[in-house]
Symmetry: C2
Subunit: 441 residues, 2 copies
Amino acid sequence: MAEENDQDNSLRGVARPRAVIIGAGFAGLAAARELGNSEIDVTVIDRRNHNLFQPLLYQVATAALSPADISEPIRRTLARYGNIKVMLAEVTGIDPQAKLVKLDHGSSVPYDKLVIATGSEYNYFGHEEWRAWAPGLKTIHEARLIRQRLLLAFERAELSHDPEEKRALLTSVIVGGGPTGVEMAGAIAELGRFMITRDFRKLEPDHLRVILLEAGPRILAAFPENLTAYANRSLERMGVEVLTGIPVEAISKEEVVAGSMRIRTGCVIWGAGVKASPAGRWIGIEGESGGRIPVERDLSVTGFSDIFAIGDTALGLAADGKPLPALAQVAKQQGEYLGKALRLSLTEGKTAEPFRFRNRGNTAVVGCNSAIFDFGTWTLKGRLAWLLWAVVHVYLLVNFEKRLLVSIQWIWRYLTRQRGARLIDENAASFVPSSTQGTET
Amino acid sequence: MAEENDQDNSLRGVARPRAVIIGAGFAGLAAARELGNSEIDVTVIDRRNHNLFQPLLYQVATAALSPADISEPIRRTLARYGNIKVMLAEVTGIDPQAKLVKLDHGSSVPYDKLVIATGSEYNYFGHEEWRAWAPGLKTIHEARLIRQRLLLAFERAELSHDPEEKRALLTSVIVGGGPTGVEMAGAIAELGRFMITRDFRKLEPDHLRVILLEAGPRILAAFPENLTAYANRSLERMGVEVLTGIPVEAISKEEVVAGSMRIRTGCVIWGAGVKASPAGRWIGIEGESGGRIPVERDLSVTGFSDIFAIGDTALGLAADGKPLPALAQVAKQQGEYLGKALRLSLTEGKTAEPFRFRNRGNTAVVGCNSAIFDFGTWTLKGRLAWLLWAVVHVYLLVNFEKRLLVSIQWIWRYLTRQRGARLIDENAASFVPSSTQGTET
């Protein structure tokens, strides 16, 4: 088994401390950046070659942006730091005694400090078979899949001679009323209305149905009630049917069963709940509340002094003892904190103050000119919130070129309502005949 | 069998002439545009929902542009023409007696005049099994596949501890020295050098090999010899090995056999020859020279007065009796001519002059600051040709937003050498262990 860093160290003759970061999302990248150009050998391992700006992934799924607009090769993000090595590999296990991370291609990477930042995945609550018909929105692959299904449903509706089938194909169901669900519902309503009025000859705007299903008593439960009420009104104005208190019972290729309803649909999207990545198992931890790994105030995994967990996969506690939410801003702050803390301890032998989360504002966008912000002590909604949302998100995009490209596309789209990336992949060539779609299900 | 246009006509009470266009590439779209807003019912059928600006597809394959930058939904392109209907469907046959186009989903479309514009595909000269290891560059799917293989080969080389395997992974082979082959070779050399010097820690520029294999005596055989010589020098300066007179004998997953050489490689690209789409078979025509359908001077298919063929799938003749080349400019001019001619004959009962091809200049780009132009009577090469190439291609891109986005990305890349779309798709998660790559093949 080759140990990846040994050669470098032996060549230098001095053993520099080694930090390994698994996962290059918001948390992992923030930690890596803080460790950049230090006297620490850092290895970042990810099974994908790119990082992804997930808050805008819904815009890829609804044909507004291209995948490359919101992603960047991890190598490029970290290229300026000579002490950081990037590996495209899948982690298969961790040996905490030998302090080794094991990789799929047979080698292993030794660490002095290990950071687990492997994020979260969608939770189908025991119904894994729903995943095939109701993809979530975590990866570019899923975003492309949703885009394809959505656009293909419209194309099929245009060709259909059966009014009932037409209506079914133009019905989208979004399961889960969190920010992603709300954003998807609003974006699909806007995209659908635009395509029907502009590009399709045989479809009517009335045929479009967008249904947002929430099992709990209200959508956007993490936000104050007045913002939920505002989002409800906004969504209804856009033609989205918001149905709360209705859990989903079954999902098949063409149908969602929820409460007493059987909804025939052309596209189902899952946004009903997340669970932590199964990384905890690598170190024998089952995890709490959605599989999250419990961490101490210094973000070390409870019971391990050299292993840390940050971001969605970690269960950190706020100052008041409540669990921190699985949000990008938490991940980013934890990554920044941990990077600084490791640098301090590994290069200066000092101990950092415990981690403290600072709420920078929680946001969700409902549609064009409509968003909400919750800053804890005060809230913002409407057009001003939407503008702030746009500015913040462009600012947070990784590099200058992408900021410029996304800004131009947004301004162009705001002025023209055009959508930029309405691509159905080549698979569309294996077009499923509409007659096999079954009008009598 | 439902006949798609009947209802519209019966409602109007007057039978408007019906033109059907199969294929929305350069040829089909040009014909459709000329028939736009006329008193003719036009139906455009394509198996994809988007048209594609193929001359820039090599930039998608080499991570410079996103697929959406060079494609547009056909519906959107033709949205302004109220008389044109777009259908996403696969054609399964033509009934010239009943004048019907049959579609995969069971219905059929009646026509008075039929235009076949189904383009071309890569010709593997009887070795269809090579396609899996050596994709061509005709669709977005193939461009993404090439991009993925290329980037993945570099990632694997970075992880490999075997110098020979490293070198093999950094070797790309492009089969075919036409414009696409030359463009790909140049772009891969530039991308590879950039990635190695900027982003990879364990790869050396010397390890990079880009091999352009041409079976004939020289590359760019359609261009004058002085331009071939210039392109040879340009490619060599960029580090591309140009090997002519060497036909390929075998292609497998990791190896190309050509002449006496066995080249181990991480990425093979096919650009060695095209053949017409098999559309001729629909009307019982086998086709000549690469399956192209012979057409008369009015672009009607020989033996059929109501069926026309244009673009790569048609074998048209120049004024001197020589066959016209399969080029975008020929396709576009044929489409424009035929659209006008059909409009004239269907709405005014007049007959157009025979089609005449006007050479607007044939071009190929070799690399940054290096391109060639052949205008028939004079030629252009070097930086000026490259600038002209860039201006012409931005101008030819379909709509304003894309022109602007592509321009910005090109200027940005010219200044920074950065690449925008270095995305490995999610399939990379099923990362093939490098140990199974077999160093002893």
